[in-house]
Every structure is written in C-alpha cells, then in structure tokens.
Amino acid sequence: MAVPILKQSNYLIATIQSALTDADLVQLRDALVGQVGKYRSRGVIVDVTALDVMDSFASRTLRDLAYMISLRGAETVIVGIQPEVAFAMVQLGITLEDVTTALDLEEGLAYLEKKPGHGHGGF
C-alpha cells in the first residue's frame, strides 16, 4: 500500500497508515527523495504512528531515507514511534543513529520551524 505524501508549505509529510511491506518502505524512500527536489522542500516528516513493527529492515530503510534526504539538502524527522515499538527496537539493538525523531507530527513541525532558513508565511 503506497504511503500518501502531503505537501505542506516547505515540508513533505508522509503518514504511514498501516503495516508496510519492505517494497512499500523502499517506494516511500524513493518517492520522498524525488519529491524533495520537485517541490524544493526543506524538511520531511515521516509519521510512523501506525507502524506496529520496526524491524532491522524498516529501521535501515528509514535511516537510509533520512541520509538520502540530507544529501538532497533537506532534513527528515521521524515522528510517532510507539512505546512498544521503541521497547522492541532497544531490545533488538536497533538504532536510528543520528536521525532526528519527535513525539508526534506537531512536535516534528515545531522542530523544523525552528531551523534557520525554514521560515515561511504560515500555513
């Protein structure tokens, strides 16, 4: 199932709405890396609230996504990692390394807004 990507001012917001296959995750990564150029976006938010399992493949793909977006000059924030998912990631030994995370969409947007050069005329 493809993940819908919403363009909101300078940002792209991808909201995962159900469990994703590996192919869906790779497609999301590639779509965001492409669209960040198309829309000249400064930031990307990936909302993983609905993701019930973050295994080694999912975390690696999100890490790759964040790094690829940064190579394109924008920043990624992963939001909505659920408590049980966070617990499983720690137990499994998964790290997102230096990928920025925030509690939810609101916090993620607030983080991006504070970045210099990301300002805009409001929503």
């Binding site: 019930d52 080694s56 998964i94």
Partner: protein
Amino acid sequence: MQIRVPVASDGDLVAARREGRVMAERLGFSASEATLVATAISELARNIVNYAGSGEIHIGSNDNGGKHGITVIARDQGPGIEDVKLAMREGYSTSGGLGLGLPGVRRIMDEFDIVSERGRGTVITVTKWKRR
C-alpha cells in the same frame, strides 16, 4: 493452538507478524511482548524470503512444566546456513543488512535454537515464556 503461515514474499511477512501478534495477545502476553514476538517473526520470515525463497512459519502455544509461552518455528528448505556461528555473530550480514537479524531475535526471545544443514534447509525455533 497452532497456526501455519506460508512465507514466500515480503507481503507474507506482514501476514506472519500479524498472526504472531494476534496469537501472543490471545495467549495473554502484553502489548510490548506481543510486539517483540511480531518483530522476531518479521526477522525470521525475512531470512526465509531472502535466503531460501520460501518456507513457512508455525506459531503456537507452548505449555511446558508449568510454564506457558509462545513458540515460533521458521522452516525452509533453502541452501542452509554455511556457518551458523558466524550468522549468529553481532553485525554479521551476507545480505547487506545490519546483521542484527538472528542475534537480535535471540536477544528478544527467551529460547533460541537453530538447526541448519547445507543443501537441506534451516529450522529456527524460538520461544517466549510468559512472566509469572
């Protein structure tokens, strides 16, 4: 209680881990523990798809000497793992992954057993016991 999920594509991974979560919750595991079980199944099922092409995941209750738990058996008839010790080492990967797969599964489950024979396939059996 037993369920068998055939695994041959990455869509089957999603089905297998959903079944694992449902079974774990039905057996009385907490949401956190059910997530651990689902995550372990995800790793085991991906191993099958990546290395053997196809196989199956059995998920069932396990009652053993007063202990109650959930057991997951991942079975394939793929090429087998050449060096099980190496595959179990942290950070080792032949697929360009993080190498977290099997060692991670061993860490999040209470029991872990692997039998692999070259040319015959691999059977990995893991169990999580309910805390009393």
